[in-house]
Amino acid sequence: MQAIEVENLSKTFRVKRKEKGIRGSIGAIWHPRIEEIQAVNGVSFAVEEGEMLAFIGPNGAGKSTTIKMLTGILYPDGGRVEVLGMEPMKKRRQLAYQIGTVFGQKEQLWTHLTPNDNFRFFGAIYDLSERETEERIEELSERFALKDFIDTPVRNLSLGQRIRCEIVASLLHKPKVLFLDEPTIGLDPVVKENVRELIRQMNREEHTTIFLTSHDVGDIEKLCQRIIIVNDGQIVLDDSVEHLKNHYLHHKSAENELQKETAPSMEGMAAAAENGDASDASLEDIIVEIYKAQGEV
Amino acid sequence: MFESGRKSVEGALLSAHGQGSVRRKPWRKYGVIYKSVLLENLQYAANVALGFFAYFVFIYIYIRLWGYMYRSPEELIAGYTKEQMIWYVMMTEMLYFGSNAGVVAGEVAKDIRGGNIAYLMNKPYHYTLYILARYTGEWSVRMPMYAVFAVLIGAVLVGPLPHFQWITVPVMALCAVLGITINAVFKLCISLFSFWIEDTTPFQWIYNKLILVVGILFPVEIFPKALQPLLKMTPIYTVCYGPAKLIVDFSLEKCVEILMAQAVYLAAGCALMFFIYGKGVRKLYVNGG
């Protein structure tokens, strides 16, 4: 079964541009300059149920726009999206019961209230009865080790504790798909590792599909089997993490062969190869090289 | 209801301007701050124009209200003709709307509560003067626009003021500028209490309301005789009654009296402001942010 199916997805924004200064402001009233920006351009991929996928790319590559289309916030201009067999835009509410979202930089919690109060609110949002909510909080706070601070206002928690609460809040209703947007941003290495372990555990025990965006290569390396790199609204690479690393290592010797296999990524890889010694490259180096080859860094 | 307008104030100013000349001309930097905000605000002129609606509503209500209260055109209420009464409200409201004090109220409180003050107070300028310079830059754009608009409404809907002499305009302008500045100093003082208490906005409401009810809507003469000397002691006399009275009914003695009162109030207000600020900063040094 496929959790997410995306076919030839496109999204264009029409944006009014304004010239600088007073004259620009006045001019814009009469002659608004409208610019079209192709944020997502013919993206196709599928995610298996229970898979953990990293969806990465430089800033402004179209990651958030894609996530927004997957969660029903934005509707696509072209192409097809199905999440859990539903079209997000048409069945936004039904879909919302089955997906969870964590945005590392945007807080969904009431910071002046305790995690416990917050969880009760999310329980109500997802129509869980008081008892169900209670049980689920019990279960998750055990697993995520929240017991010590579950009655402390969120604003008094450390960032690591807070993000754990954010994740628990988005898991209360047992979502089948979890969208994680930079979940480990700003965390120290130990807490990062802890959060990753919890996500892995979640995936194992509840068979949750994980759709992750991150700039942290550690997240990708330690969590995901598969990686999709987007740039300029297009997929430049879609490969398993393992495969990517191996191929890169043997890149020089197998350059020609590679070109046949994963055509879209090749330009990046070839350019990358020229820039340095590939034999001891880490995943981070590989990704940096691919970005560079795209002319983005 | 009716808290003072909540116009947003655009991003903080770069402070590096004019640093080189600090020692030679210590006042120059405030001029530069003023100019930067002025230029920035010229771009928001359209927003200011949208604000005319609320001003118009107020004035329109008062035109109708006084139209109802004056039974005959010759009647005098508290010594004012109907035209004078309406022009009085128009002028005080112009000062109120034109000098919308977002910087001295909301922003100062935010700087202090948010901890931004720690960076601002170590800059080579005095924080309170920096704020006043910024504030002046703001109203220098708004006020002239409101003045033109007010005169326009007045000319069309109310009719000209009797005995108005153009030659007195510069004195009136000086008096108005002093009034606005005194008002800003007092509001700044209230904001500075943010060093000690969480939320100073309720005190701003009360101050605004006091000015509104006792100074803006009615001239002092309309209140019971026993109260009038008391009212003349309050800042209201220098902040709105004074300037508006001069515009509506100019006389030389009145002018001198009001300017002197304003000088006293400005000096006292600034002394109070520096005193509170000093205390607040000392508290910050002792307790940390």
Partner: protein, 264 residues
């Protein structure tokens, strides 16, 4: 269907309850906000005592009627800002693309947005309105009418704010216009309609929800009239329906992503 409504209401009440709980963390701030707003509203009484010293009636209203009108406006505004304060900051939410959080929740977007903020000072407004009306001693029937009109008034305030705020989906600077129009509504609403004549009066009954949502109820409270009461109810219903329709039209535009630069 019934459980859907029940669940939705549960979420709304929790949301408002949490808004208030959040503000009560600092008790001193909470209390000064409420108490000072009562004082702030009460200070305007000075104006009316002065005006009634000059004449026995203002625009055909006695002092008692003016006070009742003031009570109604304050209570309506207060109730609206306790339950649905976000209607007033809606432009901000739209412009900054902050509706996303409500769109990923499996609940009604509009109700989720509206109940996501509570203005604490509004409790002071509501309190002041109720006190003022109690001082006028309207009797049990009169007080029931006052409560009814407070609810319709609050709905009218919210709907009007929502209607203007939703225009932010299409136009810039709607936050300023919205603020101006609401202040205009309150300002006109707190003066007797008798001082306005001719075209101005008609405009105030048609263009702004002042006449139908505030003045007409004050007439009904002064002298009961069933037809007028029905007219008020019908008007508020239509205004609310229009506001909701415009919001959802705008939301479609929001989902097209074409309204702002910041969201890329």
């Amino acid at each position: 269907m019934l459980t859907v409504v029940k669940n939705q209401l549960r979420v709304c009440f929790l949301s408002i309850q949490y808004n208030i709980m959040r503000e009560m963390v600092n008790k001193v701030t909470f209390l000064t906000n409420v108490v000072f707003m009562v004082l702030n509203d009460a200070s305007i009484l000075v104006q009316w005592f002065i005006l009634f010293r000059l004449r026995d009636d203002v625009g055909g209203y006695s002092l008692r009627e003016v006070l009742m009108l003031w009570g109604l406006v304050a209570a309506s505004f207060g109730l609206s800002n306790i339950l649905f304060a976000r209607a007033l900051s809606l432009p901000n939410l739209i412009i900054n693309g902050k509706l996303d959080a409500y769109l990923v929740q499996p609940k009604n977007v509009l109700l989720g947005v509206l109940t996501s903020e509570t203005r604490i000072s509004a409790i002071g407004d509501l309190l002041y309105g109720v006190i003022l009306v109690c001082v006028c001693r309207p009797g049990v029937g009169g007080f029931c009418l006052f409560l009814l009109f407070t609810i319709t008034g609050a709905l009218a305030f919210t709907a009007f704010a929502l209607l203007l705020g939703s225009l932010s989906f299409w136009f810039v600077r709607m936050d300023i216009l919205q603020n101006q129009m609401l202040m205009g509504m309150i300002n006109f609403g707190t003066y007797p309609d008798g001082i306005f004549q001719g075209a101005a009066r008609i405009l105030l009954y048609v263009l702004l929800p002042v006449g139908m949502a505030l003045w007409l109820p004050s007439h009904v409270m002064a002298r009961f009239d069933g037809k007028m009461l029905m007219a008020v109810l019908g008007y508020v219903f239509l205004l609310s329906a229009a506001a909701v329709a415009v919001f959802y039209r705008g939301l479609k535009r929001y989902a097209s992503g074409n309204l702002m630069e910041a969201r890329l």
